[in-house]
Subunit: 146 residues, 2 copies
Amino acid sequence: MTFTMRSSPGYLVNHLGRLFAAELQARIRPLGLSVGVFPLMLQLWERDGLTQRELVDRLGLEQATVANTLSRMARDGLIVRRGDPHDGRIARSWLTERGRALRAPAVAAAEEVNAAALSGLSERERDAFVQLMQKTIAQFEGNAAG
Amino acid sequence: MTFTMRSSPGYLVNHLGRLFAAELQARIRPLGLSVGVFPLMLQLWERDGLTQRELVDRLGLEQATVANTLSRMARDGLIVRRGDPHDGRIARSWLTERGRALRAPAVAAAEEVNAAALSGLSERERDAFVQLMQKTIAQFEGNAAG
DNA sequence: TGCCACTCAATAGCGTGCTATGCAAGTCAC
DNA sequence: GTGACTTGCATAGCACGCTATTGAGTGGCA
């Protein structure tokens, strides 16, 4: 059994990830969003005023990555960062009006991308696909920490 | 049906891609390789002396990405680039001895990552997973060009 | 022959991820 | 209360992907 890219799960998942990201990028760019900020926005739309640490824990990104992304988001007027009155180390991120207003169109865009990408699969296959990914992610995160 | 990250194929595939990449990175770093060069090395191990254009076509990356990656590979002594004697525009990439020697351990590392990642799935599930990814990739590439 | 269009590759500039490091603020031991 | 540890965030520097632009070489055609 020789190793080939086209049958390597690692390669396939990365390649597919790029395709998804490019498609989403194209659809949310007109809104002034980009793929990197999207997961952060999802969290903040859910609940405002999170700390950087909380975002790191929820998203599985590194602290430095979140710090950089928040900086861009602040620069682009999606959020404002304000210190916590009780703990001087903490900076909480709050959506601006503009950031808040993007929720519906952005989520719609993401749903469109998902639907288009999986349009060649049956309902059953789609569910299986999602479950296989969740299971594999759990496998990774079950090992070394999370 | 509300939108959630944990059930969004796009988010899952990207998250899983990062996990795979991190795991592979950790295993091939001791060899002096990184995840970005890996697909290019696979092509060159298969056949030496490819042009940048040929690599772009085989890998579905942008020309600029391949150019940058080849530069790093040359800097790190994995390849040498030599012009084509018949066409002055073309630069072909040739593996160095060192680059050539890394094939076996690098492929072994990738196979280990795949095996570890999918160790929680049955044989049947693994096959289904790979097929679902191939099918979804084909769906994407079937649309706008390839 | 001389020009134009095309192709190939390099480069600039940026987003998004990482590791490593530093600093300021809080906390705990004593 | 002081010193040491911990926690939260920022920054530097790099890999790796992208778009856009540039420049050099080829080839066709008037």
